[in-house]
Symmetry: C2
Subunit: 115 residues, 2 copies
DNA sequence: CACTTGATAAAGCTACTGCTTGACTAATGG
DNA sequence: CCATTAGTCAAGCAGTAGCTTTATCAAGTG
């Protein structure tokens, strides 16, 4: 029971976000579309390397590429970020509930039974 | 400006969560402490492999290991999960704000200026 | 047409990951 | 004391990730 999110998608998404350059690109795209060349400009690596990073983001659904003249404008697809948040929040929820029960239990022990 | 979270920590955390076995261990630990042996039991891999996975989770602050008799009870440290959620929510917030402005702008274009 | 620009494809190289096995340590129990 | 249990350490190996360089393609521009 509980929300089950596709494991392969989570693998790919977390792996994609585990790279600073790719997180940077995601943050940049959250402010609007950009071409590969524009995205590559700030980095000391080749355009090809950045294109490969975008490929990783595209494969896990975080980014999509369109076509306009010779350029391939990239845009963020933020919906899938939701699945990562859902997974994290689920673990935190279970842990928090357990801590609540634990505190209640400890309080019960401390306070002698009133009967 | 805005919240800046330590990049190395995010690298390590997202990389740790990019593995199904490790996500599984995190989920298991959200329901309570467990020893290495207990955590390893469900998996077809060696105890050493699971111990290494726990090491990865420990290095990024998601899990801590205590000592009790011969065992090393592991427990979840869910606070650091917060930084991952914060990073994701920041990108989504920026994107959502931009979409709001875009909608407003499009509405302004559609509706002729009233003056 | 040839040339430039924006981008992908493919091959190769280094470094790291996930796993294995074998050896070791540390605490408990006969 | 020796044996067992729980776990770590270390070496090795196959597979992958992140880059590079070279080559190629596709869409303007002179």
């Amino acid at each position: 029971m509980g929300i089950t999110i596709d494991d392969e998608r989570l693998d790919a998404m977390f792996a994609a976000l585990a790279d600073r350059t790719r997180r940077d690109i995601v943050a940049r795209l959250s402010t609007g579309e950009a071409t590969v060349k524009e995205l590559a400009a700030p980095y000391p690596m080749s355009l090809q390397a950045v294109s490969q990073h975008i490929g990783v983001l595209e494969r896990c659904g975080l980014v999509s590429r369109g076509r306009h003249r010779q350029t391939r404008p990239c845009r963020l697809e933020p919906q899938v970020l939701e699945s990562a948040v859902l997974w994290i929040e689920e673990s935190r929820r279970v842990w928090a509930e357990r801590m609540d029960r634990l505190e209640t239990h400890l309080a019960d022990l401390q306070e002698p039974q009133q009967r």
